[in-house]
Assembly symmetry: C2
Homo-oligomer: 299 residues x 2
């Protein structure tokens, strides 16, 4: 267990609690005046809501190339059999592929694209590296839901990420609609930390990546957050990016549309916020879920 002071204890106390965030949202002291690709309004929105939608950041041609690559990865038996792959219980089809920036050159290029990296620099005010990457495929008609969670809660407890100084980019490879299980977020939820209840089982990631139960907020805290901020599901078109903070509460529903929904997901962490010993279980999660030994500052 970590020897650092635990600023965000979770899965320890017998009852859940909601406490104020102890880190800034924008890490440059200049705040919304920080220079970079994001406008003052976009920074303001990110600080207030915990996310901002960047429309048409990538071209249709770029997204089509990524989708081709995704198809190829899904057809690759070795990829589907790798520990980085999460497959559908029934069909064996690829559902998620972690550390995709290490498997695929095309997704490595996307992860290191200055249009994303410079945004991460602007928000986190330091060099950044990829803490986690993945592609998610929500298959047509049967794509499963993900319950509400703060990524930071898991990264803190299970990976030993000390502070809230990481940002995620969800790149829409296909259009998001009301019916295909788009990302849902609770605006303003990033200002509070929900301390969760329950002990982390060994190798929790093996089950939690399919269906998370430990490390999810209690109904009362969630209700409080939704009463304050509501719920938003951006209908981001292919090529758009939802940039959201590591502590923004989010979820997604089922895909009931007859078309797959796919996105790429990159987590940029500050080099000053590298993961250490987990605050929860003794054993950290594998490298493909949380970069620990291979830290390469980007850009």
């Amino acid at each position: 267990m970590s020897t650092l002071v635990d600023l965000y204890p979770s899965r320890i106390a017998p009852s859940p609690s909601l406490s104020p965030r102890r880190d800034p949202v924008l890490h440059d002291p200049a705040g919304v005046e920080t220079r970079g690709p994001l406008s003052r309004d976009a920074l303001l929105e990110f600080e207030r809501d915990g996310f901002v939608v960047l429309d048409d950041l990538f071209s249709p041609g770029e997204m089509a190339a990524c989708l081709d690559e995704l198809g190829a990865l899904g057809r690759d038996e070795a990829v589907r059999a790798s520990e980085e792959a999460i497959t559908e219980p029934d069909s064996g089809a690829l559902r998620s592929l972690f550390a995709v920036h290490r498997t695929s050159e095309i997704f490595a290029d996307l992860a290191e694209d200055p249009r994303l990296v410079e945004v991460a620099h602007q928000v986190l005010a330091s060099d950044v590296y990829i803490h986690q990457s993945r592609v998610n495929l929500k298959p047509a008609l049967h794509g499963q839901p993900f319950f509400w969670h703060s990524d930071f809660e898991t990264w803190h407890v299970e990976d030993g990420m000390p502070r809230m100084r990481a940002v995620s980019a969800s790149v829409a490879l296909t259009d998001n609609t009301e019916f295909n299980g788009p990302l849902m977020l609770v605006p303003g939820s990033h200002h509070s930390f929900v301390s969760c209840v329950g002990e982390t089982p060994d190798d929790h990631y093996r089950s939690s990546l399919k269906r998370q139960e430990i490390g999810t907020p209690d109904p009362e805290s969630l209700r409080t957050l939704v009463e304050r901020g509501g719920i938003v599901a951006p209908k981001a078109k292919a090529g758009s990016v939802v940039l959201f903070g590591c502590n923004t509460m989010h979820a997604s529903g089922v895909n009931l549309a007859p078309y797959p929904r796919s996105n790429a997901f990159f987590v940029y962490n500050s080099v000053e916020n590298r993961v250490g010993e987990p605050f929860g279980p003794a054993r950290p999660r594998p490298e493909f879920l949380a970069s620990r030994s291979t830290i390469t500052p980007l850009g």
Copy 2:
């Protein structure tokens, strides 16, 4: 098995198919000029789309009384233990209660309310009776999805309903929002019959009411219907009614909102379309799923 000619064979052929509907949508030969509570525009919409939303048909006070009754039914152990009740696997909480118009006077009054019955008369052009009734509770945060299906397909194969001459009223007891798993419909899908694949197991209703697999459309047929008509999820407020045809393809997603979503559901069938022998399995489903012996014309 039924001795009638089977106009809508399903679960018989080895591959699925999409065929034209062989019954009118509006049964009075006067069509959209038929007199009654629905306007010409509403009838036109119902004929074209297979559904129409009737806003504010019931008052907030009426819906509050129904919600109170629903709470009382959910707390009643005998109700939860009855065969008409579907309960949550984890908590034992009430999820659906069938034949609610026989258990509860308040819901019997709602089912027989002239604001609903006269609409059914207008569309079906005959006396009507309640083929099925139920209340559905989609619990906060964990309400489960229902996959796409045409009710008629099941009622025809498993209950022996001969023709498409029934109409359903989904009464919103709580507001429907984008996030609480509202009813989703495919406009225009009622003009086609999707013949499904797979043999009906004995006592299929015991599993199909929790998760339906047999009697659901194949992906290709569903894609065709959605390409033609799209998907719509009416955000019906409490007190509103979604009136939809027995063959309109519909589904619903998860409830990820921190509030329950509840509705009452009444199926009005023409007395000239009473159920007979099932077209599929030898044994019909129980009375609480399909009125067979107790036919009381309404209104």
